[in-house]
Every structure is written in C-alpha cells, then in structure tokens.
C-alpha cells in the first residue's frame, strides 16, 4: 500500500488505512535508532529540504535525524538566513528549490495554508511541518504512535486535550487523527481558547480542566503561547495556571494509568506542574523519540517506497 497523495499536508486528508500504514512503518524503523550504527541505505541519493519560516528545534532536528538515518541528504533553510529577508516570496523560494530537484520539502510556516499553496505549485513532495494554527500532522502521528505503543491501540480511549485549542495546530491534527482512529476526544479551556463550532469536529467541549480529565486515558496539555496574553484571551498566567495547570492534585481524577503528553516546549508551572512533566505518567520524551521514527516512515513512504 502507498499513500494516496504525493504530499502530507494534514491528518484531515489521510485515511485510517494511511494512518495505520504510517504508524506500522514507523514502528519498523524504531529499531534502526537503537543500533550502534544508526543508518540504513534506504534513501541514499534522495534529498530532504527543511524550509522553516518559524523557529523550531525539535521538529527540524527530528526531520534531519530521520533523513540521515535513512541516508538521505538534508539541506536546511530558515527564513532568517535566506533570501526571504531580501523580500523573496514563498512561491519564488519554492520554485528555486524545485529547480534544484530535491525529493521532499518539509515546510514550517506561521501562515496557515502555506504548504497547501506549495503543493499545488511544485512537483516535489511537501510535508507540512506545522502551518499556523492549522495542522501539525507529524506531531499528531507521533502522538498516536506513542499512545498505540503504551496502550496497545487508540480506539475507545478517552483523550482530553487541554489549553489554547483556538491557536493550536497540534490540537487540530490530533482531533482529526484520534477521532478517525476511534478515540473519544474532549477539549477544554476557557471559552476564549475554544474556537467556534469545534464540536462539529466530533469532540466534546468542556470549560473546566477537572471535567475534561475525569476518567481520561490520555491527557494532552498544550503550550500556552505567552505572547497571547496581550490578546485578552486570558487575564494572567497566574489565573490560567490556577484553573488549567495539570498538577498532582487534579490528575487523580484521571485513570490510574493515565498518560500525560505535551508537544513541547513546556512552560513548567504554567500548563503543567514540573513534577507531572517529569513524573511517572509523563511520556513527553517518548513522544520526541517516536517523532524520529514517524518522520522516517513518512520520508520512506513518500520518497523510497516506490
């Protein structure tokens, strides 16, 4: 089986079979990262370009390590060190890249829909590495992989996603993915962080953390974007933390074997208490590890599985 599209723009576009294919492929790559020589020749001669218009450490590094473990060459371009600062448009940048014939471009952009625009214009495979508040498909895939690994499956699990849903691409991709895979998804946050009509995406909405995490199998905490305080979507970090920080007290409402996830970077003490972030429920670092395997799987399926 192959992926239906040349691109991976979002989880919305992926079928259940495709998600399973990616997760199964990723699983088969985990072992490569545990070898002493962490490299296989699968994508020798292929080139991945990471085109990042937003700062990122883990996603970009994860893509690069994934590509290198499959023997692909990587080129990384960031907006601050490229012709973008000379005023080059995204289209022109992409057309120039296209002319150099890479195989895959992973793009991170603050504007929602930027990867979609590129996918229509250029022939290379595009992987959405996060576009605005829209989607972050590789994050959702690595989250699903982590859940599957720890819980044996996804269907029937109760997942609570807490925080700024309105501005979170991680939330959207996970909602698409987890509901497709049969999980029961709840979102919670103050009304100012819950986007309009989100229930039509198949989720239950709560406005209190406690209600949302009751009997949860999985709690996904989202990062509070500190710069949004000026937008009046929450009055102060203190107030937010009082009501929405996951801590040793409120986590007792969840199931005993609950998994705590976070896409990072963490604001310790704001959305998640330090002892919870580092505690026994937390799988935050496993998520990062699985990120490499998921990205290896995508690169393989898009560039190597032909």
């Amino acid at each position: 089986m192959k992926l239906a599209s040349k691109d991976v723009l979002g989880i919305k576009e992926l079928s259940v079979d495709e998600i399973n294919l990616i997760l199964d492929t990723a699983e088969s790559f985990i072992e490569v990262s545990t070898r002493e020589i962490k490299k296989v020749p699968t994508l020798r001669g292929k080139t991945l370009v990471t085109l990042f218009y937003e700062p990122s450490t883990r996603t970009r590094t994860s893509f690069e390590i994934a590509a290198k473990r499959l023997s692909a060459d990587t080129v990384s371009i960031s907006a601050t060190t490229s012709s973008v600062i000379k005023g080059e448009t995204l289209i022109d940048t992409a057309r120039n890249l296209e002319a150099m014939n890479p195989d895959i471009i992973a793009i991170r952009h603050s504007a929602a829909g930027a990867p979609h625009m590129l996918s229509k214009l250029i022939k290379q495979s595009i992987i959405n590495a996060g576009d605005g508040a829209h989607e972050h498909p590789t994050q959702a895939l690595l989250d699903m992989m982590t859940i599957k690994e720890k819980k044996g499956g996804i269907a029937g699990l109760k997942v609570a996603i807490i925080g700024d849903i309105a501005h979170s691409r991680v939330a959207r991709s996970n909602i698409y993915g987890l509901t497709k895979m049969g999980a029961d998804v709840t979102v919670a946050g103050p009304v100012t962080m819950i986007p309009r009509d989100i229930d039509k995406m198949g989720v239950t909405v709560h406005y209190r953390l406690e209600e949302a995490i009751k009997n949860a199998d999985i709690i996904m905490m989202l990062r509070i974007q500190l710069e949004r305080q000026g937008d009046s979507i929450f009055p102060s970090l203190r107030e937010y933390s009082n009501y929405y920080c996951l801590n040793a007290q409120n986590i007792k409402l969840a199931k005993d074997d609950v998994l705590v996830m976070h896409p990072g970077p963490i604001n310790r003490g704001v959305e998640i208490a330090p002892d919870i972030a580092d505690g026994p429920y937390s799988v935050i670092l496993e998520q990062v590890t699985n990120g490499v395997a998921v990205r290896m799987a995508l690169l393989y399926l898009l560039a190597g599985g032909k």
Partner: protein, 429 residues
C-alpha cells in the same frame, strides 16, 4: 452620431413599470421614442441603424454603485480605462468608484482627475465617490461641498470604517444638508482585528482567525441608530450577514432612511469556498455561512436590500499569489455580476423587473444621478441581455487588468450582449 432603432426586444424598465416587447428609438444620444412597432420609415430620421433584438431583454444601462478603479496610484491593478472596459463588457454603463486610491480621493484634484480620465476614454459614466474623512483616517471631515461641486456623487471611507461615532453623526448631518449620500462600510475593527475569514466552523478547521458577524452587525446597528436620531439617510455597503439584514429590515419598517446593497459573492458563495485557501475568495467583509447567504437572498427578495453592487476589487498576482494570511482582500466582479445575479431570477428569488431595479434604477436613486431609466429624453444608456446564453467564466478573456476571480471556470447562463452608453455602442457580442 448614429441613431439606433432597437426592435422587438422585451423592454424592462422598472422606473416606468414597463415590461413588454416594444421598440425603442435612440436619437442623438437620447431616448427619443418608445412604443409598439416603430417604423423606421415613418420617423424623422429614416435611416437609423436597426438592431433586431427579438428574444433579448432591453433594460436601462446597469449601474454599479460600488467599484474600485485603482487609478490614481495602483494602475498595475486596474486603470480607469481597463475598469471601464470591464464595466461595459459586464453590461454596466455607469460605475461609481470608491476613494481608496493613492492619493485618496479626499480632495477636488483627485475627483477631477477621475472625471477627466473617464471622459478621455468615454466608455462608461464614471461617478467618483469621495472620502468621508481626510486620508480616510476617520478624524476630520473632507470638504463635502467642494467635492460635490467637483463631481463626487457620494462619500465613503470604504475599506476603512468610520469608527468614531461622533464623526459619523457629523458626516450624516452635513451630507444631508448637501443632499449627497453617505455610504458606510460597517465593520467594528476591534472585533475584526486580525481576522482573515468568516468566524465559524470553516475558520476553526482551517486555523484562520475569524471575523465574527457581530463586527458588521454592531456597526449597522450603530449607523441605523445615528440615522434615526439625526433623521438623515445612510446607505450600508456590501451587506454580508443575516444580522445586518434583520436590522435593516426592522429599521425600514420603522421608517428610518436606510438603504443597503450586497454583492453577488455574498449570495453566490459561502466560507466553504476557502477550504483550499483560495486567496481569490478572500474578501472584506468575508464570505459568510450558508445561513447568511439564505438571509441575503431573503433580504433581496423582500426589498430589504435595495441594490446589487459588484464591489469589484482588482488585485494583481503580487497581492494574491502569497500565503493566505498575507493576501490582499477583494475579488473582481464587473464581468460576472450580471450573470451571477441572473441566477436569482432563474431561482425565482427575484423577478427580472426586481433585478433591474436593484442593478440600475435603485442605484441611480440612491446616488441621485439621472440614470437608471428609459424615459423619453433621458440619456440613451441601455443594456441588452441575453438570458439564455451560456458561457464559462475564463479570467484570461476578462478586460479587467486583474484576474482575481474565484468564479473562474464557472458555467453561467445569461450575459450582456450589447452595451450602449450615451447612444453609442460601447460593447457588443
């Protein structure tokens, strides 16, 4: 100047309650005679150009009361010449252009330039709309009297709402004393700030910041309140929400002097159109939900909405072939307005007579211009429509300099086949 005899067409003129197959004679640029079986041998000029229009609809020249010509300042998007070419190709003999040029049309020299250029090309009547406030900054009123004398027909800070309620009050009062309309772009910018599309399920899915309906509704309510209090008229531009329609309907029932327009995209498209991030469908106010579209159609049908205007807003590929967030707002409309509006007739929402009322007679009345009629002695501005002719929208054939239309590829039925301005044929197919 050639005299023209239009024979056998179905003449629809709401200004005279005419809807019948009759002939129409144009002499020296004016409507000279209208009636059954005008015989060219019996009239003074026995050799007029005779056009057989059987099966066609003959109406007063269409008027687009809300367009953007981009000259001066943004000639790479549109010029007065290309805008007029697009207008006549779309069946419009008169267009009123908004002041957001560069410099802004807030002084006599810009108004006069627009008139001069329009006269030079002599394709369509161009009526400049001047800014309400200097620089459209919402602080100081422009010189309404001087601008009116220079040829401005209305005032609007279109694209930049007048947020200062006191200034809006003064504008309505002062304009009333000069008998010139104020056209209000209703948007509370504190609610719309940062918004890129309609706020709703689609914006949630796409992760784009939304513009709530209330950003428009609140300002419509405010302007109605001011118009009521000051007993002056106000015209609401590009109505897009169900709430606005309700407010305007209630205001009219109470006798408040409010008129309103909408644009074809607000009854032809919903925010679903944006689900592939099509920048051509990015407009202000944004495309709304299916419920809003239904309300707009009801408002058109029951007379709440008086006019259909194109809100023709040309942008070049430089502004549109970018990330959605950075793309300029606006779509062109002069060459698709009529056909999209004719769908309302096909759907039974409007009669042909009501459509012509909204695309010609009413805009003339709101702008107080001597157009929108086929009365004897009036300027021979005439549009001939073939309601049966099918065509496919192809942006590459458009006269407009810009190509930002989300309707490209749409199959439409009905179009203007002949446009006569001042007794001269300006466009025919």
């Amino acid at each position: 100047m050639m005299n023209i005899l239009l024979k056998g067409g179905r003449v629809v003129d709401p200004s005279q309650n005419i809807d019948e197959e009759i002939d129409l004679l144009i002499k020296e640029g004016k409507i000279a005679q209208i009636g059954k079986d005008i015989d060219k041998n019996t009239i003074a000029d026995s050799a007029p150009q005779t056009l057989n229009l059987e099966g066609k609809i003959v109406v007063p020249g269409l008027i687009d009361m809300h367009t953007h010509l981009r000259e001066p300042g943004f000639e790479y998007k549109e010029t007065i010449q290309t805008g007029c070419q697009a207008a006549v190709a779309g069946g419009f003999t008169s267009i009123a252009c908004m002041p957001n040029t560069n410099p802004i049309n807030d002084n006599r020299s810009v108004t006069e330039l627009i008139h001069r250029q329009a006269k030079r090309y002599n394709l369509a009547n161009v009526y400049p709309i001047a800014a309400i406030s200097r620089g459209s900054e919402g602080i100081t009123l422009t010189e309404f009297g001087d601008l009116k004398d220079a040829g401005a027909v209305a005032f609007s800070d279109d694209g930049k709402p007048v947020m200062n309620s006191a200034l809006m009050r003064r504008a309505l009062e002062y304009a009333f004393s000069l008998d010139i309309p104020i056209i209000s772009h209703c948007e509370d910018t504190t609610l719309s700030a940062g918004g890129l599309m309609n706020e709703g399920f689609v914006s949630t899915e796409l992760g784009l910041q939304g513009i709530p309906n209330i950003a428009e509704d609140i300002m419509v309510a405010r302007d109605i309140a001011i118009a009521d209090y000051t007993n002056t008229p106000v015209h609401i531009a590009h109505v897009s929400t169900a709430g606005s329609v309700r407010l305007i309907r209630a205001a009219k029932e109470r006798g408040i002097k409010v008129t309103a327009e909408t644009a074809p995209h607000y009854f032809s498209l919903t925010d679903e159109t944006l689900n592939k991030y099509d920048t051509c469908a990015k407009v202000y106010p944004p495309l709304r939900s299916a419920d809003d579209v239904t309300a707009i159609k009801e408002g058109l049908s029951d007379g709440t909405i008086d006019a259909i205007a194109s809100d023709h807003a040309p942008h070049s590929s430089i502004e549109k072939e970018v990330e959605f967030e950075y793309a300029s707002s606006g779509m062109i409309g002069l060459e698709t307005s009529l056909s999209l509006s004719l769908k309302l007739v096909a759907e039974g929402i409007l009669t042909l007579n009501q459509l012509i009322l909204k695309m010609s007679t009413n805009p003339a009345g709101i702008l107080r211009i001597p157009k929108g009629t086929l009365k004897i002695g009036s300027d021979a501005d005439i549009t001939v429509i073939d309601t049966e002719r099918e065509w496919t929208v192809d942006i590459n054939t458009f006269r407009s300099k810009s190509k930002n239309s989300p309707f490209n590829g749409w199959k439409l039925k009905g179009m203007a086949v002949l446009t006569i301005m001042g007794g001269e044929i300006k466009y025919s197919v």
